[in-house]
Symmetry: C2
């Protein structure tokens, strides 16, 4: 994970990441729907320290009642409000290769109210094809398509060599934040937030920590 932002929020980014984790845990909990839940319960379910949880919430107000805990439903919906996911968030995806296609069909995104509403490619073979419930569109039609869709979030799953170019087109089309899977650094205006997901990087950190590595 890495990111850039053009302004500063009080809450640390790790706190925001954990808020998403709390949200997912609460969604999961809904089946057994207990009326209330304590920070100790959250620690139990997420592995995140109870004090950390309370601190994370405190950036955004007061949520619980001393001696009681949190009303489960209310907690979940307030976290959704903070993360800006109460309503469905439309997301564009560019690059309909194996990874892009897998993300389009990834069920866990729905938990967070994210919906991939359009998929783009530059490959003639793929444009016009049906993929999941969408028709792959020509990348050249990006701006046109987003005039109607008004998506502000996009996912980039193109090869590294074309990622910068695609990112710039996305911004032209009104995108404000990007989840970038291409292993390359994007250079974009400071008001555009980028988060990078790099599988090789993740594996490298694991490899470093293997017991046979002398470099600890």
């Amino acid at each position: 994970m890495s990111e850039r932002r053009g302004y500063r929020s009080k809450a640390p980014t790790p706190a925001l990441e954990r808020l998403a984790t709390y949200f997912a845990a609460l969604s999961d909990l809904k089946r057994s729907h207990p009326e209330t839940i304590s920070s100790a319960d959250i620690e139990e379910r997420t592995g995140i320290n109870a004090a950390q949880f309370r601190k994370d919430l405190s950036y955004f107000g007061e949520f619980g009642r001393p001696g009681i805990g949190y009303i489960t439903d209310e907690l979940q919906s307030r976290i959704a409000r903070i993360l800006n996911i109460e309503k469905i968030q439309p997301v564009l995806l560019v690059g309909t290769g194996n990874l892009g296609s897998a993300l389009m069909g990834y069920p866990a995104l729905r938990v967070g109210n994210f919906q991939i509403v359009a998929a783009f490619d530059n490959n003639r073979q793929k444009i016009g094809r049906r993929l999941w419930n969408l028709t792959v569109q020509d990348i050249a039609d990006l701006t046109n398509a987003n005039n109607d869709l008004h998506a502000k979030i996009a996912i980039i799953t193109v090869p590294a060599a074309s990622a910068q170019d695609v990112a710039e087109q996305l911004i032209q089309a009104g995108i404000r934040t990007i989840l970038n899977f291409a292993p390359t650094a994007l250079r974009l205006p400071p008001d555009v937030m980028v988060r990078n997901v790099d599988f090789m990087q993740e594996l490298a950190v694991l490899s470093f920590h293997l017991p046979d590595n002398e470099n600890h």
Copy 2:
């Protein structure tokens, strides 16, 4: 990203993540193979501050020469050595759904010398099928298979409900570090390192930062 470790290395985890980024950038650079490279050049290419780069290296010794910079090849191979990726690292994958399959065919993993050497599933429909260059094996054969393969790293791409169970089987089979794509917290012995990749979480942080969100 998140993790657990049972011991402590001097280098901060963010430094290790950046080392992987430097490594990838150097691999990329190889085409134009300049003899030497400076920390300022690295900043140019990765967006990571030059002082940060030098600091990150300093956890592991001295690498460059004042007034000159770093010998490109040597820098790359020393970083590979630190990250424990000079030799091919065998990796197991469990869960051959869309995401698992996409990862098996993901070319960027080869840059880091990672090779998925076996794929497992519990679905009768999938076991025995050819996927990329591998035959999908029964999860029940995990330990047997890894007796030969000696992989220490595994990737989990199964549904959240079965992730804990799979993780425990992986540890039984000799796996020491896990890259977990299932959106659930794994409870494992402290000497097993886990890194979680959570797409919903990534999107949630982006959603939080959208200009229309009042909670900044």
